[in-house]
Amino acid sequence: MMPTAPLKVVIVGGGTAGWMSAAGLVRLLASADYDLTLIESDEIGTVGVGEATLPHIKTFNDMLGINEAEFMRDTQATFKLGIEFVGWDKPGDAYIHPFGTFGEPWAGLDFQHHWTRAMLAGEDVGPLHDYSYAIEAANNAAFEFPNEDTKSIRSTYAYAYHFDAGLYANFLRGWAMARGVSRIEGQIVDVGRNAGSGHVETVTLKSGAVIAGDLFIDCSGFRSLLLGQTMGVAWQDWSEWLPCDRAFAVPCARTEPLLPYTRATAQPGGWIWRIGLQHRTGNGHVFSSAFCSEDQARETLLGQLDGAALAEPRLLRFQAGRRAKAWEGNVIGIGLAGGFLEPLESTSIFLIQAAVTDLANLMPTRGGIDRRLADEYNRLFEVHYDRTRDFIVLHYCANRREGEPLWDHVRNMRLPDSLAHKIALFEANAAAPDYKYGLFSRDSWLAVLVGQGIVPRGYNRLADSLTLDELGSKLRDLKRRIRTNAAAMTGHGDFIANYCPAPTAAKPMESAA
């Protein structure tokens, strides 16, 4: 590249989004070409409730070269094999969305067609979820690393983490600053724009300091200081499909056994998350203010804690949706500044990670801002958010909680066409969505489609190349392999105590930046 001054990149905001952006970019970009500065204020709290992740986070950490055990110790982390949804189809029901596959493809055909065929033929095959190794391990509260031998049933899953997001941001702050990211403490009081291009040129801090930049990454959270407020990029409201707009969050004491999965329990006015960390359990009640008052929501949450509350419940307000664009002019919104989806499927941190990876590849050079790169970035942003939205809406729309106003509303609302089509196709022939780009694999869709009580009425007839007897014995053998292998696994609590025990007197999450 040209031997001129490096491109000056200013990251506004230092929560999970800010420090993941800083760490990712300082790792991926050459230091001679990019100068990275992050501005954060100790006076502004971060949301920091993003405590549950998806398996992709491991790719991000590996890319940074982070030592897993060290990172887990420092963030009070535990392992996560999936999410348990309690009462989402109807009260009393529960299913797990695992980070793993269902069964194996047989005769060149995806497993669910074989399972559907046997089920429709009246065979006693049990639920689809019996054919997931990750679910069996989760139910046993066990954990081990996946086997590298791809022929082994023990290789058919991945894992993510539960961690204290504030501590994770702290961890990444130390990591990124050690590698050359400058940190400036201060609150932004003014934004200077170029009169011609409208690009942001400077931000002014309360102290009077003026920080100039070529590119600004807005990680200011819900405020969307630069992307929304300064650049005026419109907000697309998705509350028509996702009516939850508030959450109370509260930590409570740890309980045993240490569960290797997140739990999401449906409530009359929303749902409650439960995330077990090493030093405490994170809890929260996501609810719709149209269907549940704040007082009710707070009481419901406190009434369902399985340990002593460690703090006062904290209220968050939000709206589901995304900005029309994530990149406008020389401003890129990452994290909540770009969009918000409730934490039902732990997608916030993944969406940050995808944004950082895409941005590194589409980063402007010193030649200046290139519309063509921004167009591609915005296209990928839409793919990520819109596909994730459909997946989350599925949890709501397919429910049988008759007579509960919130649930009646979401059952009867008009769905995005892209989602209605996916459901209709699964009902018709058990085909699960199988796109290449964007979040959530075929197996994830299957877990929730079947978990929410949608039963296919047909299957791909290529499955008929096996006889029903052959199929029956293959299914029994698979179940047996899953049971016996999972039974031999180490307990999750023991595994953590051995692999990455965190100091017991950890800082509570509110102390995080």
Partner: protein
């Protein structure tokens, strides 16, 4: 077992689409109790017609238990590792679109960005020198993939299959498998509302639950009133001449596409002859001129000359009612890149994936139509690149080609490549990023920048990796059999 909801399939058509459809559906769904009846219309093939195929066809042949060596022996076919795009006038450098990877990753990043960077720094080595497949093709050799070459990158191949012999071979398979076959000169489509109830011909009446239209012109799907949208504005050619020429002394392991002033001439070698295709625009060139151009560009004495219309476009719905159009009945393509059988294959693979699972199959049909549109449009866009970005000067045909339409997706793909050298990822894409880049680079586009993350790799590492790759390509290619020798081995095995 539950009875199949569409248990009686009637495939109507001709030539490769008819027999591929018949064999694929029968083989896959016979265990489910589906029966297939074939109604064969008169062939439209000319003696000079060839199916130049893309790599995925091998997998379809495997499903049909068609053995490669036996097929090539039976039809006199040859291998092809790609297509060499040359300027008949010699002004523009030639480039090879090889069916394999170009280079191998460095630091888990795509090779291409490193090549771009190195070229900017003065590296005088072309992209194709890093391709095992391209290097083998240039040397008249094949590239039989093994573990070592697979680690380096994909090395695929297609075939040049004389069409009439290939069709005989496919039909033989259907006959062997006991498919009921009717021959008809013409058919009448008997409708029941928006579905087809039966076909009538020669006093016979054939009923079916699902009808597959492999007629080429779309006799069945037309009867259901589906619309067709034209892609003529993307492509300059509306006429195609096919002809035979004498065989090459040594059979090249690739096709050659020569840009002439009146259009392009493709040479597709098979064992016994050279198949020649010449594409031109009737508004700019008479059929007589085209004959002369084809002979001149190919440098061959041409026989079996036949002239056909070219009219790219697709049905708005490839599946209407209970009728699925496969191949040309669903979409016709410009002759560049030989996507005809690939389109047949895509249609069949998606039909198997969304074969009716019940009596109401509207969801399957909607998904099929969505996928086919998306897949066909991506192919069309890939084909359009060769025309829209061509550098061939002094020719009304190529000047007109540069004015061709671009879909928003294609315009964005070109813009992003120009900006960064990357290929925008879209769903349902048939061609790899390497294939797209071959045409962008081959036609002289120079990206304004490359992936910034590759600057983290020290220059010495990059240089050392380049040297290792070039050495590997050289060494591997020398180990490979020549195309001629390999074809002889296949022939001998047949005799033995």
């Amino acid at each position: 077992m539950m009875p199949p909801p569409c248990g009686r399939v009637v495939v109507v058509g001709r030539d490769a689409a008819l027999w591929l459809a018949t064999n694929v559906i029968r083989t896959a769904l016979a265990p489910a109790g589906v029966t297939v009846t074939a109604v064969e219309l008169p062939s439209r093939l000319e003696p000079a017609d060839v199916h130049a195929t893309l790599p995925p066809l091998e997998a379809l042949h495997n499903q049909l238990r068609i053995e490669e060596a036996a097929l090539l022996r039976a039809v006199g076919g040859a291998f092809t590792l790609g297509q060499n795009f040359a300027d008949a006038g010699g002004a523009e450098p030639a480039f090879l679109h090889a069916y394999g990877a170009y280079g191998t990753a460095i630091d888990n990043q795509d090779f291409f960005a490193y090549w771009l960077k190195a070229r900017g720094l003065g590296l005088p080595v072309g992209l194709e020198d890093f391709s095992l497949t391209a290097a083998a093709a240039r040397q008249g050799r094949l590239l039989i993939p093994d573990d070592e070459t697979e680690k380096y990158g994909r090395s695929d191949y297609g075939y040049h299959l004389p069409a009439a012999a290939y069709v005989r071979s496919l039909k033989g398979l259907a006959v062997h498998d006991g498919v009921t076959i009717h021959a008809a000169d013409a058919i009448e489509v008997l409708r029941d509302g928006d579905r087809i109830e039966a076909l009538a011909f020669d006093g016979q009446r054939i009923e079916g639950d699902l009808f597959v239209d492999a007629t080429g012109e779309g006799l069945l799907i037309d009867a259901l009133g589906t619309e067709r949208e034209s892609w003529r504005s993307y492509f300059p050619g509306d006429r195609m001449l096919v002809a035979s020429g004498p065989k090459f002394g040594s059979i090249p392991a690739y096709a050659e596409i020569r840009a002439g002033s009146g259009g392009w001439t493709g040479l597709y070698p098979s064992q016994a002859r050279s198949h020649v295709v010449h594409v031109y625009a009737s508004s700019l060139c008479s059929d007589e001129e085209a004959r002369r151009d084809a002979a001149e560009n190919s440098g061959l004495a041409l026989t079996d000359v036949d002239i056909q219309a070219v009219d790219p476009g697709m049905r708005t719905k490839a599946w209407a009612g209970n009728c699925v159009a496969i191949g040309a009945a669903a979409a016709t393509f410009d002759p560049i890149h030989n996507v005809e059988l690939h389109a047949v294959q895509l249609g069949l693979i998606h039909l198997l994936a969304f074969y009716p699972a019940g009596s109401d199959f509207s969801a399957e049909r909607a998904e099929y139509n969505r996928l086919m549109r998306s897949s066909f449009e991506r192919i069309r866009d890939f084909q359009a690149v060769h025309y829209r970005l061509n550098p061939y000067a002094g020719s009304a045909f190529w000047a007109q080609a540069r004015q061709g339409d671009a879909s928003p997706e294609l315009a964005h793909t070109i813009a992003l490549f120009q900006a960064r050298g990357e290929i925008a990822p879209y769903e349902d894409e048939s061609f790899s990023p390497d294939s797209w880049r071959t045409f962008f680079i081959g036609h002289g586009l120079v990206p304004d920048s490359y992936l910034p993350p590759i600057d983290r790799t020290p220059p010495e590492t990059m240089k050392a990796q380049f040297r290792t790759m070039l050495g590997f390509v050289k060494e591997q290619v020398l180990r490979q059999p020549t195309h001629d020798a390999y074809l002889q081995t296949i022939a001998r095995r047949g005799n033995g």
